[in-house]
Amino acid sequence: MALLKCEDLTLGYEDITLAEGVNFEVNEGEYWCITGENGTGKTTLMKTVLGLRQPLKGKIIHGDGLLKNEIGYLPQRTEYKKDFPASVREIVLSGFQGALGFRPFYSAAQKAAAMENLKRMGVEDLADKSFGNLSGGQQQRVLLARAICATRKMLLLDEPVAGLDVNAEAEMYKLIESLNKEEKIAIIMVTHDLESAREYATHEIHFGEEVSVRCLRH
């Protein structure tokens, strides 16, 4: 059973259909990239997979112990967060919000795990810094740490290297690869960077005239 299976999805808004007949399944340890021009349905597919919106047709099946709320999400960088007063520690901890249940506060174990994840991303010394003052690459690492607090199974990354400089970009790809290889976390990445996408990914969904799904390597 696949972690995530999309069956005959139709994506779009009320009166515009962006893509039809989207079929694919993501298994443990796979690395998927979603490519294509703007406005072809990449982001809509991502939001549909995340459960932020409903597909016009078709269905999404979660399996292999993957719960609906167990897909870690790295949103696209937005500038408005710049003046939001939040420390790195606060943000990473919020990755555990789904695991709070009925408790009002985070447990000591969750706090320790949050620090562990910051360390994993190489930014543990930034824990008490203000998020808005970090560089783009550092911010992405912090948000990646938050995402892996939320899940250990599947990560969905929206343009993870957009706006990063060359070094930060390479480091980001390395981190994502290590999560994929060493911890067997399935990756789904929306990207414009075709070259790198094809270097790391095992599968590609390309949005063009039609939606094509292909396997890049086994």
């Binding site: 995340l50 459960g51 007063p85 919020s94």
Partner: protein, 278 residues
Amino acid sequence: MLETLTYYMGFPLIRYAVAVVVLIALCSSLIGVTLVLKRFSFIGDGLSHVAFGAVAIATVLEVTTSMIVVLPITVICAILLLKGGKYVKVKGDAAIAMISVSALAVGYLLMNISSKSSNLSGDVCSTLFGSTALLSLELTDVLICLVVSILVTVAFVVFYNRIFAVTFDEDFSRTCGVNAEKYNLMIAIIIAVIIVLAMNFVGSLLISALIVFPALSAMRIFKSFLKVTVCSAVISVVCALSGVIVSILAGTPVGATIVAANIICYFCFMAAGRIKGE
């Protein structure tokens, strides 16, 4: 000076009222941080005008405890403004501007048509700018304020982590299975409740100041959500308390004095933030 103060504090009602002003200042500053960060400040402003209209309706209906009418109307409007934004044709700020002025106009009209009071402009003025003296407050209002503001504070503390998460990144919260709509609704209801409570003291035109100023001041210096929240609570309480004391001693209107204290505070924090930043 001290004598005047102890003389006034001799009245139990004044003591309650001071406690309530401080509690309301606390509540409004807590929720204010979220409101400012979510870019909802204008909703607070719009709602305060709605509350004015609701007071007018309560006057027409000759309800003794106006809160019974005002609270539900304001809460419903808060929910509509928050939810409706996505569906109606008139968007966001324009819708709020429309609702604000309509509520003000209709409210004033209703008060004029039906008022049996000999001092109409006095009534309108105290609804808009708050009581001129704490002594004119009703005991029931004071007690309701006391209970509700304690409830709001407790709710804020219990849901603190979730409120932060939903304020910082709503989409991420949804992917974690958190019902973000529910918390937005909760925030809207809390805002409405605070506005209605605070209206008796600072008046409907001045409430927004109580909600946004402490958060904006705190954000000038602090850069973590917890520190900003705690700092804005402290600022708000200190300003409210000093405002009330000055208003008793100098005989100035309570609401305007508190807001003046907040303005001074904001400029102090702004200067401090500049110095710290350099």
